[in-house]
Structures are given as C-alpha cells and as structure tokens.
Amino acid sequence: MTDDRMLFKDIDAPDLASIEGYRRRGGYDAVRRALFELEPDELLSSLEASGLRGRGGAGFSMGKKGSFLPRGDMEKYLCCNADESEPGAFKDRELMQKNPHQLIEGCVIASLAVGATYAFVFIRGEYWEIADILDRAVAEAYEANFLGSNVLDGGARVELIVHRGAGAYICGEETALLDALEGKRGNPRLKPPFPAIQGLYGGPTLINNVETLSNVPHIVENGADWFKGFGTEQSPGTKVVSVSGCVQRPGNYEIELGIPSREIIYGLAGGPPDGHRVKAWFPGGSSAPVLTEADLDLPYTFEDLAAAGSMLGSGSIIVADDTVSIPELALRTARFYHHESCGKCTPCREGTNWTAKMLDRVVRGEATPMDLDIIASVQDNIIGHCLCVLGDSMAMPVGSMVAKFRDEFEAAIESAREPGGGELDHSLIDRPLTTGARAA
C-alpha cells in the first residue's frame, strides 16, 4: 500500500522532522520554484486558483486573503496561527511535531508571495515541547539558507521567529494574536481595518493557520489543477480531521473533503463503544452548533455543513454518545468560553458568565423551564454584538443544544428537583400590601 496522503505522507517516518529527511522526500523544492521560476503575483494567483480555504475555522480563500495585502515596499508580515486551543482541535500539533519543515516551507513561500520579510509562528505556550521541535527545525532551515537575509541567494529576505504564547484561547483570534505578538494583553481589535491592511506593528499582515500553510508547498509543487482534483468544487483539497470524544480510535485522519461524515466517525474512528450510539456531534470544534445522529450522512465539506446549520470550522469532530448528558455537555462548553472570554465586550463577558451559571443551575436542578428561554435569549443577544466571535462561539453550540435537546434539559430540571420540593413558602409571599396598593 502506498501512502497517498498529502499533509500526512510518511508522517511517522522517524527522519521526517529533520531537514535531511524532509529534503529526501522532495522538501524545499517548492521554495526554489517559488523563488526562481514564479513572480509573486503568479504565486498568489496560483494559490487563489487552487481554491485552498483557510483551515483555521473561517474557511476563507487563502489566496484571496493574500491578494488583499497592498503592493509596495512597506514592511509586511506573515503570521502563522499555531495557537490551536479550541476544544476538539489537535491537528496542528501533530503536523508541527512530525513535519515541522512542511510548515516552515509554507511560511517561506507565503512570505515570498506577499513580500513579507518577517514571519512569525505564534504557537500556544502549552505546546512547549512542540515549539522546541519547531525551533530546531527553524535553526536547520537557517543553516541551509532557506531562511535568512538572502534566501538561497535569490535576493529575498525571510526571517522566521517561533513565538510562544502563554495560555489564552483568545489569542487564536487573529487580531488578539497580533496584540499578543506586540507584547500586550491579547485583546481583539476592532475590524476594519483588517490585518491585511493594518496588522502587526501597523503593517500589512497575512495570517494563516498551520494546516493552511502546510498545504502551500504541495500546491506550488504540483499546481492548482492537481490540488483541485481532490475534494469538492467549493471545498478542494484534503483535510486533517481531529476526531475525539466517545469514539474507539480518536486521532487525526487525513481525508479527502466530501466523504460522508459517518465514514469519518464510524469507518475511521470506530464510532462509540459497542452498544452505544451517537447522540450529538460537533462537526467543527466546540464552537460549531451540534448535529445529531440524523446528520451523519452529510458530506464533510464547508458547504454541506453550513447548509445543515453548522460549520466545518477547524475540522475537529467531537462525538458525544448516549451516555453523555447534553445539559452537562452544554455546561462544560459554556465554562470554557466563560474562562476564555477576554472581558473586553460586555455581551460576551456577561453572557458567557451567566450562561455558565444558569446551566449550572439546570444541572443541579435549581432552574425552571423558563430559564431555558432566558438561556436561549442570552445566546441571541451575544451573536454579532462583539468585536470578535468568541461569544458567538459559545452561543452557537449552546443555543443548538437547547433547541435540539430541550426535552433533555427539561428532564434534567425535573429529575434533579427534590421529592416534595417546589411547595410555595407562603410566609415569603403573604406579606402586607405596599402603601401604593393600599391607597388604590
């Protein structure tokens, strides 16, 4: 059996993380091609023609984003978003750990395409040992002149710095990432201006996810048409999907976009333990509205999941089987966003806080069915009302859980109520009338 994967090809070969191992497999040939055979504009248009969509969550065309950067001699920057912190996502970790040079090569080519002289890999601080691996690979790339003041003596300067964060999910939001990289608290910025116009240090900045950039050498090497031979028209290429939760074989699987979701959850990951069924699944990380068993035959693409009211996001599938309580799942989800809210925008700061508190009451049986309506209305009041989508990322899954599993929430409220409880304490309500009422 030949390994026909793209990003994960030979992923467990022990020498792949070294520059020799990577070059032995044709690595860094694409940099040569990008530098000596193609103009930056040709590079960008080839990336745009490939239809490669961002793999970090938003799914925006990578080449188009690059074309938004102004031409000219000003300082421009590339930031690779390696802050992967969303529950369910762990693909970038394995890509960086086992094939760091693929990412570095992607960074070099993307920098050449947009004319960036400084590239940063913003990696979450928790991935300390992975950052060590990246640092070693970067040193090798400098040594071999794929990075530095004159890359391959072709006249272009590309410096690459691995920047370790220190624990904050919000730094995966692109403008918060820029603030963190500038040495500040990681608060999101108002958009526009978008980073492509005014990003790091006020300069034009291209921000892409690890997996997106890891695709770049393959597109430059083999051409846009070859790349479009994988996947669907609107979702070309392959995708590394992280599958976790109640499945027998959790892990990262590289698939062609467009295969049925059932094939990923059951065929690859083995499905829930024997005797159990899928109750709910997040198709694209904890920010995605949940789907149910009835949705398992959806093709795994950006467009099909969006049409079903959810999203492909970062490509992280979390499976909850019939042993999992949905109200508790909602509570854990809300707690995460409450913890990670930076506190800058009121709807998110207060909305995540109160949603977590209300869900806690539901789980403890101290809520009333009316609270479910309040929870739903709080979600509606968060969506679209903040600088970034962190609050929305809680509102969408929690809102979908209340909508799709409302009976389970109501049952949780009922069953946790103490027997004989719920009697009115008349001493609390049989109070003297207020003076106003007496006068009337």
């Binding site: 059996m1 370790r164 999992v324």
Partner: protein, 235 residues
Amino acid sequence: MSHDASRQPAHLVRSTDDLTAEERRRLIASMRPGDAEGVPELHEVDVPEELREEIETAMSRYPQLRSAAIPVLWAVQRQYGWCSPEGIRQAAAVMGVTPAYLEAVATFYDLFATSPIGDHRVLVCHNLSCWMRGADDLLEAFCEATGADLHDAHHHGASSADGEFFVKGFECLGACDIAPMASIDQRYYGPLDGADAIAAIEALRNGEEPLPDKAITLRSAAGEPRLVRRASEDR
C-alpha cells in the same frame, strides 16, 4: 446635598487657565499617586546576569522590543518559579517599561503564575473530550496523590502543602486524541488513569521522568497510511 469645596481637588473648584507653567507642574505633581512606579533604573534592581542576558536576547529577536514581553515573562518565571514582583521589576528595568506594563501582561495569561506555586506543574485537561473520558477522576487522582485541594484545583489551581506540586484543571490542552491527559512540567502524557497519576507523582518525587511510555511524542498517527477518498460515484 452640599459640597465641601475644601475636599475637592483644587482644579475642580477654580479655573486653572490662569496658572503659570510652574504652578501647573506643581499641581500635576501633587495629583500623581504616590505609589505609581515609573521605569526602574538598572542600578535600582539586582538583576541576575543570566536573566538579563536572556531578556536581552529575546528583545533583540523582534522588530519591536515590546514584542519580547511574553518571552521575557517566561524567562522571569524560569528564574524564580513564578512572575514575582521583584522579577517583574528587574525585567521592566532591562526592557525599559514600567513594572505595571509587564504585570498587566502577566495577569492576562493562564500559564504565568502571579503568586508562588508548587515546583512540578500538573495541568489536567478537563474540557469536553477529556471530561467525557474521565478527566474529573484523573484530576481527583492527582490531587489525592499530591495532597492538593480538589476544589481549588478545579478552579485556579492548587499547590501541595510541601510546595512540590501544583495541580490545575485546565481548559483544553489540544490533545483530545490522548484523552484523558495531563501536561506535566510542560510535556504531554496520555491517556492516563488513576494508577498513572500515582506513578507519575511517585516518579517526580524520585527525580525521574514521569510515565515515559505515555509521552505524546511517542504516539503514532491514527489510522492506516492512506488517504480516504470519495467514492467515485460521488464525483
């Protein structure tokens, strides 16, 4: 309601338009809080030479020196075990920023300790996928093995009484494939059960690497080495 004019700041009860430049400066100086610290001078702090070198190396790597704030705080935490006020002051002096600036950054990020914590750091992921696979029990096992308080561990983290360990329930560490898992002294291990927690703490007490066979770096990718393609009739 009556206002006691004598209690109001001078410039609020009378116009300051006719002040001389000198008077205006004196007024401003009188309004400045007495405890606001400016940028400390290098000679005012006793920064260890190796820390200073680490900070300066970090600063020199970036186009703008404030970008080094997070790496600098990592260096301070390595030196002192936490981002102590004294360490922050030393770093501020080397960077040429106020201690308040660095403190504001330090308090934003989960991995910076702004109070002293135990030496070995055990972060137990207790988010969705790990929770579904038993993270709460794992956190409890680590607390039992170290003596750290379980309730505090779930929230802001808890240190053991002997100061050896710090245990914290963490919001998603990005390793759901090895759920339930923990980051021990910045390395990932999983999947873990209660016995692993006891063995890991025992190994750390003896100065050994905990759970070497459970390290994430040893784990092979899931599935078979082939691309899963679409069925030809779907094309």
